[in-house]
């Protein structure tokens, strides 16, 4: 549920960092967006060939490494794993496709809302609905299973991979792609982005910041701690974009957004549902992976794969709208989520009945 003060401070800092990074070169309303940036990372690694969204975003690498450093300092680096790995990978893919149909992660929902983009309000409604459905199944006994402690080196693999990616960003070998135009070419200076990411990772690790978790805790426990961070980001972005003359209220012609309400809703509904089942939004997965959770690392590999799929098969939306293939993918994702939720729920219920039968 997070610490209230920590969450408020994180929200405040993230809001300010997002504004600053946009002013320094990041794409509009995209100071920090985990979905967009993981998609850029997938492109930078050459996993998809859309040459406008390829860049090894230092913010992403910084968040992972910041969370690692903080968790080591706080003695919370506890490698674990083994809970529903393939399922997490698939849920990661679905979550990313949903977010790329909306064009943003839950964090970017707040950034877009603060800047007056009302399509994000529709997206938020979808996110809320998706998290609510996922939470319903969690409450009914859905579980991806138990993780067990892992050796230290296993937990260190993913943070080390992030450090290696950072090295590639600086060395710029020929097999790493850098967009020359489009959103992927727009970025703040590398060291500033990296520092922002590190700070963001450190604060998120401490405060347990999570956008999907905010909605979930609100529904389950009437607890406002995490969701208050979401509200703070909206307020800071609102004040900042007003001050910079960038606030624009409405649906049409918003930066890197489309106006197809039904797909904005359903895209984030799929993402929210998956996030609830996974125990956290993409940001939280980055932080958990940084502190040695190998299941979260698998989820991120799923997110990256989802981004590659979305762009290799033409599923991702653009400001022009959502392609038919993207619409079909979201519907397929929702059907898979329903099937998984129901199947796991009945599986868990059956196992519990057997246990009671044996012990009784």
């Amino acid at each position: 549920m997070g610490s209230r003060i920590g969450v408020l401070i994180t929200g405040l800092v993230v809001g300010i960092l997002a504004l600053a990074l946009t002013a320094l070169g990041n794409p509009a309303n995209m100071g920090v967006c985990i979905a967009c940036f993981l998609r850029d990372v997938a492109g930078g690694l050459g996993l998809h060939q859309v040459n406008t969204v390829q860049y090894l975003r230092p913010e992403i690498l910084g968040i992972i490494l910041g969370a690692s450093v903080m968790s080591l300092g706080a003695q919370e680096f506890r490698p674990s794993g083994g809970s529903g790995k393939v399922m997490r990978f698939i849920l990661g893919i679905i979550m990313m496709i949903g977010m790329l149909v909306f064009l943003g992660c839950p964090l970017r929902v707040a950034l877009r809302l603060g800047a007056g983009d009302l399509n994000a309000l529709v997206g938020f409604a979808g996110l809320f609905a998706g998290v609510a459905v996922g939470t319903f199944f969690l409450k009914s006994g859905f579980s991806l299973g138990r993780a067990v402690p892992q050796p230290k080196w296993a937990g260190a693999l993913f943070p080390l991979a992030a450090a290696a990616a950072l090295l590639l960003l600086f060395l710029r070998p020929a097999f790493i792609y850098f967009s020359l135009e489009g959103p992927g070419s727009m970025h703040a200076p590398v060291l500033i982005s990296l520092a922002a990411g590190l700070l963001f990772g450190i604060l998120s690790q401490r405060s347990r910041f999570c956008m999907a978790g905010g909605i979930r805790d609100l529904i389950l426990f009437r607890n406002f701690n995490l969701i208050s961070g979401f509200l703070v980001i909206i307020l800071v972005t609102f004040a900042g974009s007003l001050a910079m003359g960038k606030f624009k209220l409405g649906f049409a012609a918003q930066p890197i957004a489309h106006t197809e309400a039904i797909w904005n809703f359903l895209g984030l509904a799929a993402a929210g549902w998956a996030a609830a089942l996974l125990g956290g939004c993409p940001l939280r997965q980055l932080v958990l992976a940084g502190q040695g959770n190998t299941d979260a690392a698998v989820t991120i590999l799923g997110l990256i794969t989802g981004a590659a799929i979305a762009h290799n098969f033409g599923l991702a939306a653009s400001p022009k709208g959502v392609p038919a293939a993207g619409q079909a993918a979201v519907v397929a994702g929702l059907i898979i989520l329903l099937a998984v939720s129901v199947a796991v729920y009945f599986g868990v219920a059956a196992a519990e009945r057997r246990k009671i039968h044996v012990s009784g």
Binding site: S143, L144, A147, D217, F221, L278
Partner: protein, 69 residues
């Protein structure tokens, strides 16, 4: 003492399991096992909000929370 073993479960499962146990409890102490700090904090927050006293103990591999009414 009834024991809730929430080790290795991802959020919010440890809190949900604890909540279910506390709701049908007759007031006898409950022991909750978790292995992640966030889960320990969340379980403690939930128990506190339901009027239970929490004492926390670190063992080498996990954390033990003892909840008393």
């Amino acid at each position: 003492m009834s024991v809730v073993d929430a080790r290795g479960l991802s959020c919010p499962e440890p809190v949900l399991l604890t909540k279910r146990t506390l709701e049908k409890s007759d007031g006898a102490p409950v022991k909750v096992l978790v292995d992640e700090m966030a889960a320990a904090e969340n379980v403690a927050a939930l128990a506190g909000s339901m009027g239970w006293q929490v004492t926390r103990k670190e063992t080498g591999t996990h954390m033990e929370l003892v909840l008393k009414k």
